[in-house]
Every structure is written in structure tokens, then in C-alpha cells.
């Protein structure tokens, strides 16, 4: 393929690419004319599904299709993440738009014979609602998808991310063409400003204003950085977009580069995302091949390069100044702002730093206009929010919803509620630096400002649901352990304060809490927030503060009654055999790693609390519900 020299030849490439997607249909998109007798089989190639052996499924399907001589009629395409990771590996058959869940390689012959040839739906592979038991064969009718509004994820799971033509068939690089040939850099910035797009990295700064500051600087060269150092445990929004639709991010970056007058961009991606890195590399090579990167893009005279840098395992590098230090080859330590990167960033040059999702939304805003984008979401938070839904929830996965939707809708309508009929207890948004919200806050609308007002944060999009079995002290302690271990150590409040706060929490969960500890938590938290250098230190106490605010009685129970109400904290619980239920089967005794259980066959067993390590294995293996926690 030669370079796409101008807008006309981009049109040409587009028309040639359209048939590639003729069989597929995007959510809410127009039904396109299926090609007679042809099928597309989409296999999810996201990290989650690859981990659950989607590659084996693909191989098996290919073998079966080959065996039956159907290679001409059936295309097997690997896509990015569909988001419904708990049900993977996922297979979608077009044009019927049937979604099969948890497909095994051994299902391949059936899928080919029954569905691809026989046009029959395999009921046992279809998604079944956990409560209503209703089956949903059609992809976009599944409740998990029905309530979503996919802008950032519009191509994820729909196109082959390793084929630039499929992206072009979705009007890819048309926004770049429009910006470069019909708009001045100022006009691009005005549209982005008018759209009200706010940074999807968490803080929610207005993107257009950030661009404008960088654009106005007289200092050259200028740089652009895409923050793909998604480090929150339990969050994988950015990874999924980079795996499923890398070109949308590249296109957004090139447009931003044009708008602010940058000469090069860097993508800083976690090294823990090998698949995303591979897909970025492929996408970069294709974008250069087609001439969307490099010299004189689309004949406009504008030139731009993008380089990929892999992170090396430091959560704090998600902070923009730390990230820049890392690209420069230094320790990823933040520095005080101001000056902000838009004034003095990479190698002290003006640098625009945005999140993956922010860049990914730009092409659609340029193509469809600011008005279109403001049509979604709320006035102050237009557009959509992307969340990685995890924890004690039925539908673990990646979702995109319009801003303003309530937490309740997300958790119950999309998420399918809490498994095993347990009660909802709290939802943590904003990742390890965010905060939890209790049941009373479930009707809080999800947008940048409402979440902060309620006591949590938007963050970059992790959403962790916990049920009644979760101890909020231990939950807060978990995040604090993570965040304090990720402190860079530069400023005193975070380096030592995080450790001291953790020591207080450890004390409480070990049953050694003192009455003054709650004041101490508030004192340390308040001052860490005020005095720390960067957002990591400022927000490290966030989960503790929120859980103390909403679940104070639980903390008090640990301190005053020496009890863990959720029966989780090891220092405060005892495992005991319920004598009436114990049959003396000896299973628990054999499985106890500490050797704390005694008792003869067919005799009631006894757990020695002094030896017991509170690992919980005995409860899991007991078939007679004969062990309880006190």
C-alpha cells in the first residue's frame, strides 16, 4: 500500500474497505447490507479472553472451516475486547449478531455446522441472565450491552485492530483529513473546547483549554504524550481501547499534534500490557505505511511522529510529571506543579499530556462536531464514562455509559447485581486513590462533579463493587497498602505518612486499635491531602477517609468491641466447629495447612485458635456447613 496522499485517496481507500465490515453491525448503528452467504466470526482477542484460551477456539474454528471447505465464505476475525470478560472467550457470529459465551475449542465443530451453516442458535452457549434465567442470543440485546453507550469503545470488539482498513471502513482517519485540510489549528481547538470534553485520566480538566495553553506557548519544539500507564488494580479501560481500537488513539494524537503545533508524540504504555503494546506497534507501522504519520500527512504539509515507550512498573508514573521524568530516562518521581507540562514538560518543552480515552474521543468530536458530543451526558460532564466493573458483581467487564447515569443503574442494570444473593455494601470508584460510596449513595449520578461531591472520585475508571462479606477496614487497608507501596518517596507526607497511616489501620484490624486512632486517621489523612507533592500522596488516604466517613461504626466495632462485623480481619475472628453439623469426616483436618484441627473419624472436630491461621480453607472444604466464624 502506498501513502494516502490526500483526502480524495482516503475516500478511495474507504470505499474499498467498506465491504470488510458489511456483515457487521455496530451498536445503534445502521444495519448494513450483509454480503450474500458470507459470515464473519469474531473472536475476542482481548487479554481476558486470550487468557481463557480464545486462541485455541480460533484455531479450532479455522480447522473446522478449512475441513468443510468454507474458507471463501467465512472469515474468522480476531477483535479487541468486547468487555464482557467474565463470560469469555466470546465469539460473535455475523450477520446474525449472535454472541456465544465461554466457548471452548471443542465447541468449534458445532458452531460451524449448526450456526454458520445451519443458521441455528446454540442455546447452551448463549448468555443467560443469572436471576431471570432468560436467554439473550443477540449481542446488543444482552442487558450488559443494551444500557451502554459506546463512543470510546465504538470499534472495540467490532473491528480487527490489526487491520487499518477496517478502521478506515469505520470512517477512520476522516477526522484527521478534515482537521488537516479544512480546519486551522485554532478551529480544531475551538471545536474541542466547545465540545466540553474533559480529560478522561481522572482529574477532568477541560481538554481544549489544556491544548490552548500548549498551543499558545512560543517555545519550540512542543511534544504530545499519551498516558497509557493504567496502573489501577482492577482497571483495564485504556488497555482494552489500545487492544481493540488503537488507531482511534493514534488519530486523536495526530489531530492534537496538529492543533497545538507539536512535532512528536509519545505513547507511554505499561509494560504489563504486552498485547496492547503489540497492537500499538502494528498500528503505528500501518499508520506510517498509509502516510497518516511521518512527513507531509495527507499532503497538508504537517509532519508528525509517534514513539512508543514502555513503562517499567511504577504506579506513580500515571502522574504526568512522573511520566515525563520516566520518558526522559529518570526515576519516575513527580515534581511540583506549576509549571504545568503545558508550559514546561518533556525536556522542559511545552507538552500536552492526555489519557488514552481522551485522545480516542477526539476524532469523533472533530467529525461529528461539538454539538453532537454535548448531546451525550450532562452539561458539565458531556459524553460517556468508561468503567472496568469488577469485584462482587455478576457481570465483570468493561462498560461505557453516558455521564449522568446513576451508580444503581450501572451496578444492577448493566452489572447484573451482586452474586449469590448477597447484599450490596459499597462501590469504590476512582481506583486505589478514589473512595467508596455506600448503598445510600447509589442514586448518585456518575459524572466528574457529582462523584466528588458524594465523597468519591471519577478516577480513570475502575469501579469495584463489594458485598456484605467485605470488611471496610480491611478493604481500605488493601488500597492503602497498595498506594503506600507505590509512593515514590520524594515528599515526606507521602513517604512516611502513608506508612504511619497503614500502621494505624493494621493496628485496628489486628484488634489493637486505640480510641484515639480514629482522630489519628483523620489527622494524618487531612495533612497528607494538604501537604503531599502529587496526587498520589494527596489521594492515598482517600479510600480510608471515605470508608471512615460512611462506615464509621465498623471501625468503632474493631476498636471498642474488638470485633470485625464482616468477619474478615484475622486478628478479630475465631474459627469454630458447629458441633451439631460436624460429621467427623476429617476433610477439614486433612486440608488444614496449619494442622490446627484435631478429632477422630466420626467424632466432632476441634479447631485450636492458637494454631489456626484463619486461612478459611476448612470452611471451603466442609460439605456440611459445620464451621463458622465468630
Amino acid at each position: 500500500m502506498g501513502k494516502v496522499a490526500n483526502l480524495e485517496s482516503l475516500q478511495q481507500v474507504y470505499f474499498e474497505a467498506i465491504p470488510l465490515l458489511a456483515n457487521r453491525r455496530a451498536q445503534g448503528g445502521p444495519a448494513e447490507k450483509p454480503l450474500n452467504g458470507k459470515c464473519d466470526v469474531l473472536i475476542c482477542g482481548g487479554t481476558g479472553c486470550v487468557a481463557s484460551s480464545s486462541r485455541d477456539v480460533r484455531e479450532a474454528l479455522l480447522v473446522e472451516i478449512e475441513r468443510r471447505g468454507l474458507k471463501e465464505d467465512i472469515r474468522v476475525i480476531t477483535t479487541g475486547c468486547h468487555g464482557f470478560c467474565a463470560k469469555g472467550p466470546l465469539v460473535v457470529v455475523y450477520p446474525q449478531e449472535v454472541l456465544y459465551c465461554q466457548v471452548k475449542a471443542s465447541d468449534a465443530p458445532r458452531i460451524v455446522s449448526e450456526t454458520l451453516i445451519g443458521k441455528q442458535i446454540l442455546e447452551d452457549l448463549v448468555y443467560q441472565h443469572p436471576q431471570s434465567k432468560e436467554r439473550f442470543p443477540v449481542y446488543h440485546e444482552i442487558p450488559f450491552y443494551r444500557h451502554q453507550l459506546r463512543l470510546s469503545l465504538r470499534n472495540c470488539g467490532l473491528i480487527n485492530p490489526e487491520d487499518i482498513r477496517e478502521y478506515i471502513a469505520r470512517q477512520g482517519y476522516f477526522a484527521l483529513g478534515k482537521a488537516l485540510t479544512q480546519m486551522s489549528p485554532r478551529e480544531v481547538i475551538e471545536v474541542v473546547k466547545d465540545s466540553g470534553l474533559r480529560g478522561r485520566g481522572g482529574a477532568g480538566f477541560v481538554t481544549g483549554i489544556k491544548w490552548e495553553i500548549t498551543q499558545r506557548s512560543p517555545i519550540r519544539p512542543k511534544y504530545l504524550v499519551c498516558n497509557a500507564d493504567e496502573g489501577d488494580p482492577g482497571a483495564f479501560m485504556d488497555r482494552s481501547i489500545l487492544e481493540g481500537d488503537p488507531h482511534s488513539v493514534l488519530e486523536g494524537m495526530i489531530i492534537a499534534g496538529y492543533a497545538i503545533g507539536a512535532e512528536a508524540g509519545y505513547i507511554y504504555c505499561r509494560a504489563e500490557y504486552p498485547l496492547a503494546i503489540q497492537r500499538i506497534k502494528i498500528a503505528l507501522a500501518q499508520a506510517y505505511e498509509y502516510g497518516f504519520l511521518g512527513e507531509n500527512i495527507l499532503g497538508s504539509g504537517f509532519s508528525f511522529d509517534i514513539y512508543l515507550r514502555e513503562g517499567a512498573g511504577a504506579f506513580v508514573c500515571g502522574e504526568e510529571t512522573a511520566l515525563l521524568a520516566s520518558i526522559e530516562g529518570r526515576r519516575g518521581e513527580p515534581r511540583p506543579r506549576p509549571p504545568f507540562p503545558s508550559v514546561s514538560g518533556l525536556w522542559s518543552k511545552p507538552t500536552n499530556v492526555n489519557n488514552v480515552k481522551t485522545y480516542g474521543l477526539v476524532p469523533q468530536i472533530i467529525l461529528n462536531g461539538a454539538e453532537w458530543f454535548r448531546g451525550f451526558g450532562t452539561p458539565n460532564s458531556p459524553g460517556t464514562a468508561t468503567f472496568a466493573l469488577t469485584g462482587k458483581i455478576n457481570n465483570i467487564g468493561l462498560i461505557e455509559v453516558p455521564m449522568g447515569i446513576t451508580l444503581r443503574e450501572i451496578i444492577y442494570d448493566l452489572g447484573g447485581g451482586i452474586p449469590k444473593g448477597k447484599a450490596f455494601k459499597a462501590v469504590q470508584t476512582g481506583g486505589p486513590l478514589g473512595g467508596c460510596l455506600p448503598a445510600e449513595a447509589l442514586d448518585t449520578p456518575v459524572d466528574f462533579d457529582s462523584l466528588v461531591q458524594a465523597g468519591a472520585t471519577m478516577g480513570s475508571g475502575g469501579m469495584i463493587v463489594v458485598d456484605e462479606d467485605t470488611c471496610m477496614v480491611e478493604f481500605a487497608k488493601y488500597f492503602l497498602t497498595f498506594a503506600s507501596a507505590e509512593s515514590c518517596g520524594k515528599c515526606v507526607p507521602c513517604r512516611i505518612g502513608g506508612r504511619r497511616l497503614l500502621e494505624v489501620l493494621n493496628r485496628i484490624s489486628n484488634g489493637e486499635g486505640k480510641p484515639e486512632d480514629l482522630d489519628e486517621i483523620e489527622y494524618i489523612s487531612r495533612n497528607m491531602k494538604e501537604a503531599s507533592l502529587c496526587a498520589l500522596g494527596q489521594l492515598t488516604p482517600g479510600p480510608v477517609v471515605a470508608s471512615l466517613r460512611f462506615f464509621r461504626p465498623e471501625y468503632e466495632a474493631h476498636i471498642y468491641e474488638r470485633k470485625c462485623p464482616a468477619k474478615v480481619c484475622k486478628g478479630l475472628i475465631t474459627y469454630r466447629v458447629i458441633e451439631e453439623n460436624c460429621t467427623g469426616c476429617m476433610v477439614c483436618k486433612r486440608n488444614c495447612p496449619a494442622g490446627a484441627i484435631s478429632g477422630e473419624k466420626r467424632q466432632v472436630h476441634y479447631i485450636d485458635p492458637n494454631i489456626c491461621e484463619r486461612c478459611g480453607i476448612c470452611i471451603e472444604v466442609c460439605k456440611f456447613d459445620a464451621i463458622m466464624i465468630e
Partner: protein, 365 residues
Amino acid sequence: MMEKATITIDGRKIQARYGQTILQAAREHGIYIPVLCDHPALPPEGACRICLVEIERQRTLQPACTFPVSEGLVIYTHSPKVIEARKFSLELLLSDHPLDCMTCEATGNCLLQDLAYEYGVTGDRYQGEKHQYPIDASNPFIVVDRNKCILCRRCVRACAYINGVEAISVFYRGFNAYIGFGADSTMQDSPCEFCGSCVEVCPTGALWPKMAIGKGRPYQLQKVQTVCAYCGVGCQIELQVRNNRIVNVVGVENAPVNQGFTCVKGRFGNDFVHHPDRLTRPRVRKYLLEGGKREGKERGEWVEVDWDTALDLVSRKLVEIRDTYGSDSIGVLTSAKCTNEENYLMNKLARQLIGTNNIDHCARL
């Protein structure tokens, strides 16, 4: 940029210059803001959080050492919030600190101690984990006690920006971070040149000159300001003297030439002062004093004389040689230990009085 910005600090309106930090502007107007990691000779770091101030319309407290002034800033340097945050950071620092001020070398000369005193912080608020690092006394000059280190990174910056060696860096991260040398070797085995700039800027007793250990408290030492005798640069140094013996040498802060820094020789190379072999009065050969001639290869014994006698002898011999063998039979070699002025005078002596261009210099020490 000479443009002025009007800012308000603690209710006082002052004219600051764009490009200044709040700390610089405050100092210029005699407003006190405490610092710990900041050092006038080093780029600001913003790490210790002691210079935090409250600025209206800022979400959190901001470090005065890095925050640039701009028109209309309203700043409070000692609001209750600020004082609490400073105390908090000091409490944290002391919670991971030995608290052995009674025997610590730095007592009386320790910024951490001064700040703890100023804010009434005792160091008993937290009973948490404390580091126990081995002491590195592997080299002849500097003792490294990481237990007293507060990770202000002054030493890191001094090594990088003053000496340009970058032998010091922070290793690991978070609570486990510590200051290390080379590839985490001892100071001795690292690329360190022992210029002692790190010692000069260390605000606590973490880096201490070996020679000064146990030699006296600051108030017991007599301070003598002088110019380093090693070379012609003219670094100002302060000799710390007790019982007429030099126990320590430090640079003179704000000295125009060296801004408080020295090289390894100026700081640590002073043991010659009290050496028994050191010449303190001139000596001449006995035969010269007696006006006789050298006999054979032996040059005879030394005789201690006063300066006039010695100089008379030298000038007499120089004139004699010049008159007998001509000006160019004499060469003059001066020293890098001399000042520019002294070397200029030697040049005058050689060219104008003796009449030779045979003059040279040892170039370096």
C-alpha cells in the same frame, strides 16, 4: 523578565518580580518562611514540604520554594493549616529518626533540630517502623549515617549541580528509599571525589566529616574565616578551631567565588597544618649564611633564620647570578597555590627586575 507582580504575603503587599518563587520574593522582603530541603545554591526540589504556604484559590498548600509568583497571589505563611502541615511533616521525619541529639555531632548545627524546636515537635507521636541502616565509614573523609538522613536530596543535587559528578542518587522508592552511591557501593568504592559538597549542604548529621567527630560542639569552636591556601581560586573557608587546632573546615556561604563549596583539598586536606615536619620559619644553608662556597657534593646543614635574612640572601644571590651569567640564566616557576595577585607580582619580578621571560607556572595542584 523584569515585570513586577504585586503579591500579598501575610497581609503585606509586596512587589515581586516575575520569574521569582514565593520564597525568593519573601526573603527579599524580609519575610520568614522556614525551609529544609531548599538550599540557596541548589535548584529547588519541593520535597520536604516545610516551606508550604497557603495560597488563596489553590486546592492544597503549595511549596514556596517552587511556586512562581504571579499578579494578585494572596499568601499566608503561618496560617493554622500551614503550621499543622509543617508540624505533621516534622513529626513524620522524627518518627523515622534516631533522636540521639545528645551525642549527635550535628547538635546545635542541625536544621531538623532547629525546626523541631521552632514548632515544638518532640518526635514521640508515632511508634512505627524505623530504619536501621549500617553506618558507612569506609573512606577517610566522610561518615554516612543513613539513619539520620531525611531524604532532602540536597546532597544529590550538590553532587550533580555543584561538582557535576552525580555519584549520589536516591535508590529504591517510597518508605524504603535511601541515598546511595555509585552502583549501591560504599562511598569509597563509588565515583565520589570527596569534595565534601554533600557534607556542606546536609542539614542533619547524616553526612559528617570524619576528622571533626568528637572534637567539640559548635559553641566550643572558634571560627576563623580565611582563604583556602591550596590554589589561586580564592575560595573562602571557615576554619573551626579548638585549642588552637583545626578540627573542621567548611565553606563560607555566599562567598563570591565558591558560594560555600570547596574541593577535596580545601575541605579535607588540612592535616599538614599541624604536621611536625611542617616548616614554619625560613631556613638557609649554613655555608650561605657564612658567605662561603659549597664544598664538594655536600650542601651542608640547614640553619633557621628570620625572613629578612632569608630574603636578603635570595636577592643577593639572584643579583649575583644575573650579573655574572645574564638575565636569561634565571627562570621563575610560580605556583597554583598563589593567588592571581601573587602570580602577577612574580611576573613583574621576573620580567622587569630580573629581566627574563623565563617564567612558568605549575598549572594545577
